[in-house]
Amino acid sequence: MSSLLNTARPPAFCPGCAHDRIAKVLDKCFENMGLNGNQIAIISDIGCGGLFDTFFHTHAFHGLHGRALTYATGLKLARPELEVVVIMGDGGLGIGGAHLLGVCRRNLSLTLIILNNFNFGMTGGQYSSTTPPEAQVGSGFLNSLERPLDVCQVAASAGAPFVIRRSGMDKNLAEDMEKAIRFDGFSVMDIWGICPGRYQKQNKLTPQGIDEALANLPPAEGLVKENMRKEYGQAYRETASRQKASPVPLRIGKLFDPPEPGRREVVILGSAGQRIVTAGEILCLAGLTAGLKATQKNEYDITVLRGASNAEVILSSEEIGFTGIERPSVIAALGQEGVGRRRHLFESLKQETFILQADGVEIPDTDAMVRRVNFKGQGIKSSDWALASISLLAKLHRVISPEMLRSALEIRLKEQSLIASLELLDRVEMDNST
C-alpha cells in the first residue's frame, strides 16, 4: 500500500500548523491499515480542517459548518462497509454540539478527529468552545467570561465508547488513530495543536505547554468501558430485520347499501380523550362499506388529554371537494370545549339537522331537531360517548346502518376493544325523556 495523499493538491496549511502533521499522520494510518482510497470517505466541514478532504485520494464529502457528523451518519448507515472519518475543528464542535451528543448516544462506527487549536483560524482567530479564558484571541474579552469545553468528558458522558486525547505532536499518534478507526463504534480523537497563523500570534503555546495542559486534564485514553455496546448500524439492521412487514392498506369494497341517499355530513364536537377522531375514522370506514366516498377533517389543540377535539366527516356517493362542513346533517355535541369552538355552526341550522346532545353539554339555541341523550345514566363513560353516538346513528338508520358500523368496528378495532364496542352498539339507547 502507498500514500493516499493527493500529490496534485498538497496540504496548504500555514508553516508550523498542527493540521499539516495530522494530515500526514492520517495518511500514514490509512497506509498502515492497507486501505484503498475507495474504502474511505473523509467528511469535513468549515474552517482550515475543511481542507482535509481535498488532500486525499479518497471519497470526499465537504459540507456546512458543524454538520459533518450528520452527513457521515447518513453515509455510514447507507454504506456500512465504508471507513468514514470525520474531520472537524473546535469551531465545528461548538456549532455542531447537538450532533456530537447524538452520535455519541447512537454509537455508529464513525471516527471523529477534532483538530483542536482553540480558535477560529480562518475567520480571524475568534474564540471557540475550547478557548482558555486567559488566552488573547480575536474576540476581545468574551472568552475570558466562558469556560472551555472538555470534549472528551462530554463525549464520554454522552455515551461514546472510545475517547482519546492527544497532542498533535504525539509520537504514537498514527497508532492511536488506527485504534480509533478500527474501533467498531463511535470513536473521538481530541487532538490539540498549534495554530501559527492566528492563535500563536498572541499566545505563546509550545508543544511542551500542550503536554503540560493535557497532563492537568482527566485522562482520555481510548476505551470507555461503561459505554461499550453493540455498534448502532449493526444493531439497527438486526432489529430492523425482525420488524414485521407493514400490512398494505386495507381495501374495502361495497357490502351494503347506505340507509340514506346522497351526501351526509356529520360533525362530532367534543374534548380530547373522548376518542372523537377514532369515532370519525370508524364512521368513514362504515361509509366505505357502503361504497361511499369519505373525508374526515379534524380540529384539535396541541394539548393531548385536554382541550377541544372535533371531527367533520363527509360521506357521499359523489366525489367530495371541500372538506369543511357548513350545513351538517348530524351534530353530536359531546363536550363543551368542542361546542364552544364551533358555536357559529348552530346559528343557521334548520329542522333537517339532527343534533345528539349529551346530557351535561350546553348548546346554543337552534332550530335543528335536538335529541338529548343521558350517556352517563346508561353507564357509558365519556371516552365512549363518540362511539356511542355513531352507534345511535346506526340504530336510527341515519347516515349509517348497524351492519355498516359493525363491519367498520371489525375493520378498525381488535380483541377487547372490538368486543366492548360491539357490546356498546348493542346496549346504547336513545332516552325517552326528550
Partner: protein, 373 residues
C-alpha cells in the same frame, strides 16, 4: 371497486416507498409527524432506514449523506423545521443532491399554530435558501395527489439532481380520505443516471447535450467528491469566473428551461367564462366544488389548479389565461403566489383573495370574489 382510507401524510409515505425511497430521517413536528411514523412502519421491514434526528438540521444532513451514497431519500417537517433545513437546502441545490422534502404547512409565522393549516411557506420554499437558484415545488390537493405527486417529486429529484418540495398542508396531511389505490395511475419510476460504461466520470461534469451531471455514489469503486463549496466539474474548489458562472447558469437552466415537462395541473373549462380562477393546494377542493355548482345567476368562470408551483409554469399560466380578461387568485395566505401570477400575466386584471386564520377558504367566499365586479 375497493377503497382505502388514508390520510395525506400516509399517502406521501406510501408514494415515497413506491418510488424506491429507502432512507427517511425526520424530527417530530405537528402536522408532519405521521409521515415519519408511517415510514418507520414501512422502511425497516424492507431493509430501508428510518431514523429520528436530534433536530431538523441533523435529519436533512443524514438524508444528504445517504443520498450521496446512492439512496433515494426523504425528510418531512413543517414551518419551524423548514427554517432549520435552510442551509442544507442551499447545499442540495448548489451541489445537486437529490432529495424530497415534504413541508406539511401549518399556520405561521414561527411556531404559530401547530394544528391549523395555511399555505404560508409558498415563497419560503423557493427562496428560503442562500444563492437564489430555483427549486421544484409540487402542491398536492388531496390524498391521491399526495400519493402520486410524491412519485413525481422523486422522479424529478432523481432526474434533475435537486431538492424537490412537496407543499402539503395540515388540511391535506391530517385529513383522511377514501381512495381507490388500485386504479390510481402511477408514473414510471426514474432513478438518477450513472455514466455510460467506459466513459470518464467527473462528479459535476455534464455529458454533451445534457444539463445534469451523471451520478456515482460515494462508497463505490470510483472516487466521488461532494462539496458545498463553489466547485468545478471535478468537485474541487474553483476560482475561474467562467466556470463558476457557467455552473450557476446551468443550475438555473436545468430546471427553468424544462418546466413545461413537469407542469402538473388540473383544468376545468367553462364556455364563455371571462374569469379564470387560479388556486392550488387544499383551496382547490373548494374551487372544484364551486366550479361544478356554477348557477345560472352567477358569473361563469374557468378553473386552473396548479400542482407545479416552482419553477413558475409561466407558459402554462399564459396559455390557460389567454381567453379571459380577468384572473382571480385565491390562496391560503395573505398574498404569495399572486405575485407570480401578476408577473406572468401583466395585461390581465388580477384580483386576489387570501385568508390566514386557520380556517379553510370556503366555496362561498370564493363565489363572492368571483361575482364581485
Amino acid at each position: 371497486m375497493t377503497q382505502c382510507l388514508l390520510e395525506g401524510n400516509e399517502a406521501i409515505a406510501r408514494g415515497a416507498v413506491y418510488s424506491g425511497c429507502r432512507f427517511f430521517a425526520g424530527y417530530p413536528i405537528t402536522p408532519a409527524t405521521s409521515i415519519s411514523n408511517t415510514m418507520l412502519q414501512l422502511l425497516p421491514p424492507l431493509g430501508g432506514i428510518c431514523i429520528q434526528g436530534e433536530d431538523e438540521i441533523a435529519s436533512i444532513g443524514y438524508c444528504l449523506g445517504a443520498s450521496m451514497a446512492g439512496m433515494k431519500v426523504m425528510t418531512a417537517t413543517s414551518g419551524p423545521g423548514m427554517s432549520l433545513y435552510s442551509e442544507n437546502v442551499s447545499f442540495a441545490i448548489g451541489s445537486e443532491i437529490p432529495i424530497v422534502i415534504v413541508d406539511v404547512q401549518r399556520l405561521g409565522p414561527s411556531t404559530g399554530s401547530a394544528t391549523r393549516g395555511a399555505d404560508g411557506d409558498i415563497q419560503f420554499m423557493q427562496w428560503g435558501n442562500s444563492g437564489g437558484l430555483p427549486v421544484i415545488v409540487l402542491a398536492p390537493v388531496d390524498v391521491k395527489d399526495c400519493f402520486v405527486l410524491t412519485m413525481h417529486a422523486f422522479n424529478l429529484a432523481e432526474e434533475y439532481r435537486c431538492p424537490v418540495f412537496v407543499a402539503s398542508n395540515k388540511e391535506i396531511g391530517l385529513t383522511r380520505e377514501s381512495i381507490d389505490l388500485d386504479t390510481v395511475e402511477r408514473p414510471a419510476i426514474y432513478t438518477r443516471a450513472a455514466p455510460q460504461e467506459g466513459k470518464s466520470f467527473l462528479p459535476f461534469g455534464t455529458p454533451p447535450g445534457r444539463m445534469v451531471p451523471d451520478f456515482l455514489p460515494i462508497g463505490g469503486e470510483t472516487l466521488v467528491r461532494q462539496t458545498s463549496s463553489t466547485h468545478g466539474p471535478n468537485g474541487y474548489i474553483t476560482v475561474d469566473p467562467d466556470e463558476i458562472g457557467g455552473i450557476r447558469q446551468r443550475l438555473k437552466d436545468k430546471l427553468i428551461s424544462n418546466v413545461d415537462q413537469y407542469s402538473y395541473y388540473e383544468e376545468y373549462r367553462k364556455e364563455a367564462a371571462d374569469t379564470l380562477l387560479i388556486t392550488y393546494g387544499v383551496t382547490a377542493r373548494a374551487a372544484r366544488d364551486l366550479f361544478h355548482n356554477q348557477g345560472a345567476d352567477s358569473r361563469p368562470f374557468s378553473l386552473l389548479v396548479l400542482k407545479t408551483l416552482w419553477p413558475v409554469p409561466e407558459s402554462l399560466i399564459q396559455e390557460k389565461a389567454r381567453a379571459v380578461k380577468r384572473v382571480v387568485m385565491v390562496e391560503m395566505n395573505l398574498g404569495q403566489y399572486v405575485r407570480e401570477v401578476e408577473r406572468t400575466l401583466p395585461d390581465k386584471d388580477i384580483e386576489f383573495f387570501g385568508q390566514m386564520n386557520g380556517k379553510l377558504i370556503t366555496p362561498g367566499q370564493i363565489r363572492k370574489v368571483i361575482d364581485h365586479v
